[in-house]
């Protein structure tokens, strides 16, 4: 049960924190169509997070709700991928972050459908459909920006260079996902890499973008080693619940 809790919060936190970042865009995107699309993705991710955190609360059996888990944990309790807590910076960074994550969720949810735990399998089936849509959007923009103007090419390449180091975490062992794989709850993280990389490389090539070199990067959000951005994000997200403990909204 404790493993299922950790695995559910790992996946749930990752969707939640990215939804929070995308929520910052609403009303501020480059055009109305992108505004609506980013809001849509945020809503899907938020839905995944609510499903997973509710389930985590159930398993834990201490009466914690999705809101308790989202709003009353400290940064060091969160186990989201560090990638998703990175700031929006500009539309280029945002799209790269989304693309790298979408491509990973594609592989993850595909395989998670075979989870020995029906609740994970059920989530995966639904989320996979959503992710295909997100991926179409983000990969499409990676290509358009990469093969658009010189400025857009440079900006999206800068986003890629800045964020690439956070991708090793997706496939590295050492957290709930590794144990989950051993228990048949989910795929082995390392097993997702080949398909992910082939997919990403193909899109980057179409986009005329250069894949950054892999670097040794050992600070993993899923092991609760977060960048400075998470505590700021949570301070904003959690403010109401922290300020008015116990209130119903």
């Amino acid at each position: 049960a404790e493993l299922r809790f950790r695995y559910a919060t790992y996946l749930g936190d990752t969707s939640l924190i990215l939804a929070q970042r995308l929520g910052e865009w609403v009303g501020h995107a480059p055009a109305l169509e992108e505004d609506l699309a980013l809001a849509n993705i945020a809503l899907d991710l938020l839905g995944q997070a609510r499903y997973l955190l509710s389930y985590a609360g159930e398993i834990e059996g201490k009466g914690r709700s999705e809101d308790d888990l989202a709003f009353l944990r400290d940064p060091s309790d969160f186990s989201n991928l560090a990638l998703v807590e990175q700031p929006n910076v500009d539309f280029g960074h945002t799209i790269v972050r989304q693309f790298l994550l979408d491509a990973w969720q594609l592989e993850l949810f595909e395989k998670l459908q075979a989870s020995s735990e029906p609740r994970f399998a059920e989530l995966a089936a639904k989320a996979l459909k959503e992710t295909r849509y997100h991926y179409r959007f983000s990969a499409g923009w990676v290509v358009r920006l990469g093969d658009g103007t010189e400025e857009s090419h440079n900006r999206v390449q800068a986003g890629l260079d800045a964020l690439w180091r956070f991708t090793s975490e997706m496939f590295a062992p050492g957290a709930a996902d590794e144990e989950a794989a051993a228990a048949g709850l989910g795929p082995d993280p390392a097993s997702l890499r080949a398909a992910w990389l082939a997919n990403v490389e193909q899109v980057l090539q179409t986009a005329t973008l250069k894949r950054p070199a892999d670097v040794p990067f050992r600070w993993f959000g899923k092991r609760h080693q977060h960048t400075d951005h998470l505590s700021h994000l949570l301070a904003e997200m959690q403010f109401m619940q922290r300020t008015y403990p116990g209130a119903q909204w």
Binding site: L16, Q20, G23, E24, V26, G27, H28, A29, P30, A31, L32, E33, E34, D35, L36, A39, N40, A42, L43, L46, G47, A49, R50, L53, E66, D67, A70, F71, D90, F91, G92, V143, R144, L145, D147, G148, T149, E151, S152, R155, E236, M237, F239, M240, Q241, Y244, G246, A247, Q248, W249
Partner: protein
Amino acid sequence: VTLEQRFQSKVDADERIEPKDWMPDAYRQTLIRQISQHAHSEIVGMLPEGNWITRAPSLRRKAVLIAKVQDEGGHGMYLYSAAETLGISRDELIEQLLAGTAKYSSIFNYPTPTWADVGAIGWLVDGAAIMNQIPICRCSYGPYARAMVRICKEESFHQRQGFEIMMTLARGTAEQKRMAQDALNRWWWPSLMMFGPNDATSKHTAQSMRWKIKRFTNDELRQKFIDITVPQAEYLGLKVPDPDLRWDEQTQHYIHGPIDWKEFEDVLKGNGPCNRERLETRRRAHDEGRWVREAALAYAEKQRARDTQAA
């Protein structure tokens, strides 16, 4: 019969004017002005509530709020499309907004300092908007009327959500109740002003009614809004911030105290609490998004060139 007469008799017969039909230039201009103001209001209106997306107090409320703000963006899109049927492009309209030459509803120049404002906007601002908009579903101009049918359906959903937020607060802790009352205090009068100046001073009403763009006067709609909303406030246990407010047995209407039209004028002229900020925010989003829009165009052109070469 002149074109103008034929047009007017169609309107009088409650038939719809469609984009390809002849229409008087003033009718076209009035519609462009009104529809684009309405579209701009949806877009600028995303900001005061959007201000609370990152801080919504529960995941459910966060999801509902994102969806609502997204709906407003969608309404903006339908309305820009409706305006485009009159021969003006969305880009031109947005330029007017950003240049400060087009108007949007003044209500969105008020700030949202607390979560209760999200509730109050849904309850009061969307409530007032619906009151204004339902008659437009029968507007003489087809594309506008059809867009409005869809919008009104969603708006009334938003209005109920807003009321439900207020109810949760009003039934909540002392701090939540205080928050709800404070929001009502701040949004009540600006909501009444949303219906525009008194009939006596309103300049567009008569012609617009003849054209069936407008079907009720400002004061009629305002009265209707007050009559519906005051009992809702009582149901919530909140106090409407108008010491002169009273029920009039004879007319079966609420009588309200004097509206501060000087405030209305100030905000309309750009001196409301957030006018500068709202436009600034829209301009920044537009400027910072320029390279993205340019990239999309450049890419589309490259694709076209490639297709041509391939063909």
